[in-house]
Amino acid sequence: MTDVEIDWPWQYSFPPFFTLQPHPETRSKQVAAWKSLILTYCQKTKTYLIDVREASQFSLFNNSTINRKLEHNVIISILSELHKTGNAASVDKAKNRWEIYWHTLEEWASMIYEFISSRGMQNTVVTLYELMHGEDTQEEEFYGMQQDVLIKALKVLEGAQMRDHIGRRCSRCKVF
């Protein structure tokens, strides 16, 4: 996927990590480790979308050095766990495609709001493209963000009455 060097945790080269453990205490530890690993991985590689069907292509779920793969249903159950904390959401009903939010949508929203307010750009119309690929945002974490995720984050702002969404088709927004 990417050339980004990942600092794999010790679990990644521990074969039992790729089998869902039946012992409840062990399993909770294992799932927690997976959750943090997935989020770290996605953050490092700027992955916003994971397709479970193509999971074996991700080095995340497929450690070729010890020849272990994470099963699809296990991936889905871990992603469902992530969903509970607002760090992931399935895009389709079959739960095959998942958006990963290594920052929750609320965190993204407040990040954007801070960016806007720090530049005094309230009440100005900003295009989504500017937010995603603009020169000003190059330093920000949401640079290069996927549009679907960005819109979802902005909708959170909308819900908080801090933003007026003008002309979705024109892909512009205004923050108060």
């Binding site: 089998t19 012992h23 480790a33």
Partner: protein, 389 residues
Amino acid sequence: MNRIKYTNPILLESESTVVVENNVRLYDGHQKTSFEGGELIITTHRILWGRPGAIARGQTCLALHLDLVVLVEEESSSAFSFSRSKKVLLHLSETTEESDGPQFTSYYNFIKLSFREGYSNNVIGVLNDLLQKRLWEPPSPEVSPQQHLPTIKLRTGIIGIERSLQEKQKATDESITVAFQDLDKLMSMAKEMVKLSRTISTKIKEKQGDITEDETVRFKSYLMSLGIDDPVTRDSYKSDNHYYRELAKQISDFLLSHVEEMGGMMALTDVFCRVNRARSLELLSPEDILNSCRIMESLGLPLKLYQFTSGVKVLQLSTMDNEIVAESTALLIEDNGSLSAEELSQRLGISITLAKERLLTTEKYGKCCRDDSIEGLRFYPNLFLTKEE
């Protein structure tokens, strides 16, 4: 016709007359012959034909040995003939013998018997019966297969099939009885053997010193491998409970050292095999063993029955505890890095089922974790819980 011979109408040894018919004409194939209006006698061995009264007077007559007859059938008379005459076809086998009969050669492989006035007896039935019995053969039970084959061919139709089935049944029946006779003998012999060994062992006890120490020891070891000296049997107890209690004591006495050897645990199937092997004669049913194992714990015996969550039942030392098992197994896993059930079974000298149960118990206590891959199920030290932060 060339198979028919001139002969004396004197009956052979063990031959007897079966059917007598009058006014019979012989045909060679489809051709009429001059032998007509004669007397036909079917015996157990031959078919005899003579001029009226000739046979009774002991004059020469014609004879056809039944050995040569392959098939008997009635010639269906045409629809337009209303005569009472009936014809019987006799298909004959090839012969190489020089004929001394009325005709040297014949184009046909069958002759016909024409009964001008019909026949009073069921000639065809009688002939078929005789052909099957083959009374002319010496009465030895061993019939060579070549001789046997034609008779099998004769059995056509449903009756034939039924008969062959019956014969097969008879044969299996016989072989079964023979087999069990052997077994009975073995059992009776075994009882004697055990008795004998017992008397010898008591004699040895009495006469210790007469034989060298070495021999005594060796003989005793033979006796030991023969089994338990005085097995507890159901007959000697009035109530089942009492019986089970005594049985439990004996089993635990006998197995204690073995269980210790096997690492403190023995599958119930192994228990069953070992106990019955040792008893050799008064065998126990699985139910009896299970029942007596159940009450071991309440009797305070050094062994107890334990059932794993998977349903596998084992007999284990009552001092043994799941936690201790888990602890020791975890240590083993740590020493080896990781273990599969097979490896553990080899290491401890226990069965794979038991090894797997041990690993699962250890996992249940959170002392190890599993790795389920295409290479099989392996267990690793539980680093998730121990190596955290």
